[in-house]
Amino acid sequence: MNEVLLARSQMALSLGFHIVFATVGVAMPALMSVAEWRWLKTKDADYLTLTKAWARGTTILFAVGAVSGTVLSFELGLLFPGFMAHAGPLIGMPFSLEGFAFFTEAIFLGLYLYGWDRLSPKLHLASGVIVALSGMASAGFVTLVNAWMNAPKGFRLENGKMVDLDPLAAMTSSFAPHEIAHLLLAAYAATGFAVAAVHAGLSLRRGGSPFHLKALSLALLMGAPAALAQLVVGDHAGKVVAEQQPMKLAAMEGLFKTAAHAPLHLGGVPDYDARQTRYAIEIPSGLSIFAFNDPAATVKGLEEIPRADWPHPAVHYAFQTMVGCGTLMAAVAAWALVLLIRRKPLEARKWFLRAVVACGPLGFVAIETGWMVTELGRQPWVVYGVIRTADTVTPMPGLVVPFVLFALVYLLLSATVARLLWRQFHLVER
């Protein structure tokens, strides 16, 4: 592997690792707070047990998220110093705000997790709510940076250099609204479904348990609406990409030729050499409708740009996987809604519980593959249309060493977190 690819791999590894813990860190405090609020409201001890059980999981996940986030704040410079040297003054603003939001999150999480007998019940709950809100804010700010990388603004180009910097304008990237909404919904949906899956599984194993069904209901209350709303936001995100990053859309869809009435490809294998996507189910004019709400609309294909600049074919598979996972989750969310409306007791619905268990990992698969779509799909640019990734990589050779080192550390941490969470699930004796 060459140095550029190694730097990108290490960044992908670090972000792919961090994003799981970060999204859980955003969503879990919201769940915990709702459970604690139910406890204060109903005095049902199950909710207190639940809050504390969820808090234990959150402690583990948040700590790993915090330290892996620290690594990222350094790695941007360590791996791509050229990017930081030029973009630092523009993206520093959201990063600073994110810093303060994260500071608030860490402070109040400490108060929440260790302050059970030091704070009044109301103050304790308030700490949880503050963690949930500041987590949301910090995720929003950090996504602003990515939005800017996709649709940069707030500067003028003079001989290829960015001048007349306007950091405030840089925070109003046209990608910001949909990226932030998409990410936050993904965090709530993925976490909600994962937690619901754990409790659905435990409930099935124990032949129905009121405790786990309460937990399941709260988790679905967060996950299901988010999964349904994601259909709308995801569709909108696709339309913005179609308009502003046509080559990312072309890679997502495996579309090589610019055409009106462009078909939508379900599945399929994009063959970059033959310039066609094989074995896909084609929906005539589907892509034109999906991208521009018009069956006759012209959609640009990869042929518009030199072959060397085509994003990696993995973008297509990642996109298909993300949409597949999201659709399945939305379907189960709709099923939950139907059960809710018909007031069916959940414990009798074994197949529903099994479906929820099956959906457990899907949200995180969707987050990882969705992240791949936006990042791989933006290549070869680190700042779309302005700075090429390859031009920013550190001149230090031998990047294979830190890459392998971090890969081993993250492997160890992933295995440990999985083992510890598994242990936690079985400690909840209900």
Partner: protein, 322 residues
Amino acid sequence: MLPDLIAAVMLVALVLYAVLGGADFGGGVWDLAAFGPRAKQQRETIEHSIAPVWEANHVWLILIVVLLFTAFPLAWATASIFLHLPLTAMLIGVVLRGSAFVFRKYDVPGPAERTWSRVFAAGSVVAPFFLGVCLAAISSGHLTDRAIGESYAQRYVWPWLGLFPVLVGLFVLVLFAFVAAVYLTVEADTKELQEDFRRRALGSGGFSAVLAVAAALAGPKVRVPELPLIVGAAVVAAAVTAQALLTRAYRRARVFTIALVAVFIGGWAFGMYPNLINPGFELHQSAAPEATLRLLVLALAAGVVVLAPSLYFLFRVFKPAR
């Protein structure tokens, strides 16, 4: 003016990181060095004092980095190229320390817990050592010195792997352990535990003083007229801390330990001023455009309004006056 202001904020953040986050690392050192009949109680005291605050204390480091790359992007890019290896080592230490600290609490009691304890302690040793190495390297004058040569080792290893950076690394490690020991004398529940940490504070304090002198002798010559004043302040703070520890006035010892750390870091920054990296990266010349700096100052002001009361609340809840 604006670059100075932001540099000053970074300096304050660095001092806070040292006296707060540094003490958490120092706690890990004493976890490793816990021995005697009260080893278990020592570890528990350390665990209790770190657990609720370490994540918040840790954010100071992130804040420093963000300010650095926002306000002084070229200096940060240069430092991250030439300090890639020690910064990576520091990060690995940071990751292992934080994760292992939580893992050991939730893993099966017994061997697994002990393994994580070791990892936690190892991370607590590695991270401050390499932090010290990096801080020394940017002031050594060798980091951007192209005259050294063009081989891999000459560019990416020797600038930070010299006598001076290594001595500073050790100094920072022992200093953080000293700071932690002083705090733990206040936090310990029993007289015996207080005595344990008092002995550790006196020992590590003496050791860090020796390392400070050694590092100063090995380091670049500092030519600022205020040097005697800085050294004098350090000596006074050190003497008062020692006297307070000897007479078991632990709260006073804590206050003057913080002052001592502030004098060390302030003095180091004073010696560097107006350079951010020695040589070649002058504060004003390497600053980001005015528009960025102005907004950054506004963001900092807003941030302080949110942060100050929150931090005050955190420490009042978990570190009440007893």
